[in-house]
C-alpha cells in the first residue's frame, strides 16, 4: 500500500464525516450548506489529486484496468460535478400548451431573465391515466361509511368483495368515461376515486433563426436536448389554462460527470472480480 493510498483513505473518511454532517437534519434545514462549503470542496480536490497520484504510481500496470477505470472515473465525475457547481444554469418554465405560445427565456437567479437564444413551444400534450379505483360506501344510519377500495381488473370489471363482480358495462358511461358512482346493493355504492397519471408527454417544438423547426418527444424520463440546454417535463396543470412545467438546465460539466459514472460502472466489477479470480481477495478493491 502506497503512502498516497494511505492518505487517500483518511481523506475519504474525512469526506464521509462532511457528508454525515450534512445528512443530519437541523432546524431550518440549512445542514446541506456544508456540501457547498470551501472546506468540503477542498476535501474533494484533495481526493482527486490523490486518486490521480495513485493512478500515476501504477501507470505501468495497465493489466489493472479496473483500478484505473475506477479511480479515473471518480476524478471525472467529481470534475464534472465541480464544473456544474460553478457554471450550470437551471430554472423552471411554465409553458401554456399550444404552438402559438413560445418561450425564449426563463426567470434566472435574482430575477434576471436567462435567454435561451432559441424558442420552445409545447404541443400535442396528452396524459395517459390509470383506470380509477372504486371505494365502497355503505349507508349506516343516515351516514355514509367508507369501506374497502377495489381496483379495476384487466377485463374492466371490479370484484367488490361480498357484493360480487361489477360488470364492465356498469362501470362505463355511454360515452366510454368511467362512472362516478355505481350502486351494488341497497344502500351500498362504489364511488370512483381520482384517477392518477400513468404517464404524460408533449411534443417540444424548437425554433431557431436560420434553421428549420425541430419537433422532439418530451416526456418524464425523456428530456429533450437543444443547443446545450436540456428540457425536462416535470408536471402539468389545467388551472387557469392547460400548461406544462419544464425544468431547463444548461450543465457544461454533465458530459464529464457522465463519462466518469460509466467508467466507474465498468471498472468496479473488473476491479472486484479480477482480484477474486486471481486469488488476491485482499488486494481486490
Amino acid at each position: 500500500m502506497t503512502r498516497a493510498m494511505h492518505i487517500g483513505t483518511g481523506v475519504m473518511a474525512l469526506g464521509t464525516a462532511f457528508l454525515l454532517a450534512g445528512a443530519f437534519p437541523v432546524d431550518g434545514g440549512k445542514q446541506t450548506a456544508v456540501f457547498h462549503s470551501p472546506a468540503f470542496i477542498a476535501v474533494c480536490v484533495a481526493l482527486c489529486l490523490l486518486l490521480l497520484l495513485c493512478c500515476w504510481q501504477r501507470r505501468r500496470a495497465w493489466r489493472q484496468i479496473g483500478f484505473h477505470l475506477c479511480h479515473l472515473g471518480v476524478v471525472l465525475a467529481l470534475a464534472g460535478a465541480a464544473i456544474d457547481h460553478f457554471r450550470s444554469v437551471s430554472g423552471e418554465v411554465q409553458l401554456p400548451v399550444g404552438a402559438s405560445f413560445e418561450a425564449t427565456r426563463m426567470p434566472g437567479p435574482g430575477g434576471v431573465p436567462v435567454v435561451f437564444g432559441f424558442g420552445i413551444a409545447a404541443t400535442n400534450f396528452h396524459v395517459i391515466l390509470y383506470p380509477p379505483d372504486y371505494i365502497l360506501f355503505k349507508k349506516n344510519q343516515e351516514r355514509l361509511v367508507r369501506g374497502d377500495t377495489y381496483r379495476v381488473a384487466a377485463d374492466g370489471t371490479v370484484a367488490a368483495g361480498p357484493y360480487g363482480r361489477v360488470s364492465a358495462d356498469r362501470l362505463r358511461n355511454a360515452d366510454g368515461t368511467w362512472a362516478e358512482m355505481v350502486m351494488v346493493a341497497d344502500g351500498v355504492a362504489l364511488r370512483k376515486s381520482r384517477q392518477t397519471p400513468r404517464s404524460f408527454e408533449a411534443v417540444l417544438r424548437i425554433t431557431s433563426h436560420g434553421r428549420p423547426d425541430r419537433y422532439e418527444r418530451l416526456a418524464v424520463n425523456h428530456p429533450v436536448a437543444a443547443h446545450g440546454w436540456r428540457f425536462y417535463l416535470v408536471s402539468y396543470d389545467d388551472e387557469p389554462a392547460l400548461h406544462v412545467v419544464l425544468n431547463a438546465r444548461w450543465a457544461p460539466g454533465r458530459a464529464c460527470a457522465m463519462a466518469g459514472i460509466w467508467l466507474l460502472i465498468a471498472g468496479t466489477p473488473l476491479l472486484c472480480f479480477r482480484g477474486r479470480a486471481a486469488g488476491e481477495v485482499g488486494d481486490a478493491c
Binding site: T9, M258, I265, R276
Partner: protein, 268 residues
Amino acid sequence: MHVNEAVKTLICVAAAAYATAGFAFAFRRMRAGFAALAAGWLVNAAVIAVNWTVAGTPPLGSMYHVLVVLAVCLPPLYLFLAVRDRLTWLHAYFAFASVAPLVGALCMNPDTLWRRMPALQSAWFVPHVLAYMLSYALAAVAVVLAVTGMVRGRAGAAGCAVARPRGYDVAAHRILLLGFPFMTFGLLSGMIWADQAWSAYWSWDPKEVWSLITWMLYLVYFHCRKSASLRTWANAAHCLAFAALLTTFLLVNLLPKLSSALHSYATS
C-alpha cells in the same frame, strides 16, 4: 380470502420455512435444511408473483415490495457463493438472513393499490432497485459474519474454543467483493436515472447523501483492509457502513425527520 391476508399468510409460511432451514443447518440436518430452504424460496417467489400480478408491474415500489424481493435474493446468492468460492458453510447464515426481511414485510402495509408513478416509468427502475437489493442482501450476511468473527475472536482471546475467526473475516470480505459492484451500479444507475427524470444527476437529497455515505464507508473498509497499519479499523468501518446502509434503506424512508422528498414514493 382477501389478497392482503393471503399474501401475509404466504409470507409467514416462507419465513417459517427459512427459519426451519436455518435451524436444520445449525443442527447439521443438511437434507432437511436444503428442502426447507427450497420450499421457503418457492413460497417467497410466489409472494412476488402475487405482488406482480396485483400491481401489474415489477413489484419494487414500496418498502413492503423490496423487503420481499430482498429475501428472495439470498438463497440464490448463497448458491452462487457456494459454487464459486466454496463457501458452503454459510447456509445457516443465509437462511436466517432471509427471515429478517420477511418479518419486516409483515410489519408493512402490503400496499396492493400501489402503482408506478410517471417518474418510475423508466428502464432504470428494475436494474436500479434490484442491484441495490442484491448488494443489501450480501451486505447483511457479511456484517453478521464479521460480527460473529469478532465475537469468536474475542472468545478465543479469552481462552474459549474458537472456530475459524479468520475464516469469517475472509468470507465477509469475499461476500462484500461480490456485493460492492452491485451497490456501485445501484448508486450510479440512480444518478443516470435522476439525470433523465429530475434534471440533475445529484440533488443532495437525504436518500442520495446516505447512499453515498454507505458507499464511501465500504470504500474505506476495502482500503483499510489492504493496509497492515489500517487493518484494525476495517471492521469498525464495515460496521459503520452497515449502519449507514440501514439508515439509507430503512430510516430515511420511515423517519419523518430524515425523509427524502424525491424518494417519497418508496415510503410504505
